[in-house]
Symmetry: C2
Subunit: 126 residues, 2 copies
DNA sequence: TTAGATAATAGTAATTATTATTATAAACCT
DNA sequence: AGGTTTATAATAATAATTACTATTATCTAA
């Protein structure tokens, strides 16, 4: 594979994601980075997000709503979706990897993993 | 809310979903129903799928890939996605609702539930 | 049963999120 | 610095879904 050339646009995206606790969409990231690079293109955002996900430097969260969200925290963790304010929060919790074994009990195939998020009301909306 | 008027198109969608073990997308359903009602509109498919989901007569599976899938089996169950053949299969398994409590342990908000699917290789692809 | 009211449909346009294309600009190498 | 290559901005294209509207089907009650 070709070597990845430096770009300040990509660096700014990575930097922004590593400092926010929000879990922004591509569009939100676009608006934020545009404050620094006013004529950055949405295509650049999408391409670099995919590159960073491939390199394992950020995480893509999908399936929570219509659009993908991104997370600078690459440590394995679960997410919580508040049904009121729609925010995505990080969950610090014990492993639940044993659910793979529960699922595999009566299943003839091979379960490699699971995709899970939790939902409810966050502290502030409660 | 206004009363729901009968329509044979909606009935055909419900009927098809109750007899298939596939977990078709709106587009697949569209192709199947068109065999019976050749000029059914895709908009009709989408609108009726949403109505049936609201009435609790079918289930919408989202977050597995780009498009939503639908399931005529309304009993609570989990799904498995084969990474090889991309099929969605039903899982018969014990409850894992206790993961809500695990998630709630260090969380200040209120966890109401979780959305989970499992992935790996199905029997036939193994 | 049939006329009037209302909801559903087909056909089409619009929207949203994302990916593809391409000419120009920035980064890298020697 | 000059040449090569990758990245970018700008835009077009795509895919899934929702919105709109004139016509048709269903329902209701006389």
């Amino acid at each position: 594979m070709a070597t990845l050339k430096y770009s300040r646009q990509r660096e700014a995206i990575k930097e922004y994601l590593s400092h926010t606790k929000e879990h922004p969409t591509a569009d939100t990231i676009y608006m934020r980075i545009r404050e620094i690079y006013p004529n950055i293109s949405l295509g650049t955002i999408y391409r670099n997000l995919s590159l960073l996900v491939e390199k394992g430097e950020i995480i893509r969260i999908n399936g929570i709503d219509g659009s993908d969200h991104y997370d600078g925290n690459t440590q394995k963790h679960y997410h919580f979706l508040c049904k009121d304010c729609q925010r995505i929060l990080d969950l610090e919790m014990d492993s639940i990897d044993h659910i793979n074994d529960i699922a595999n009990k009566n299943f003839p195939g091979e379960i490699e993993g699971h995709a899970t998020y939790f939902y409810g009301r966050c502290e502030e909306c409660n």
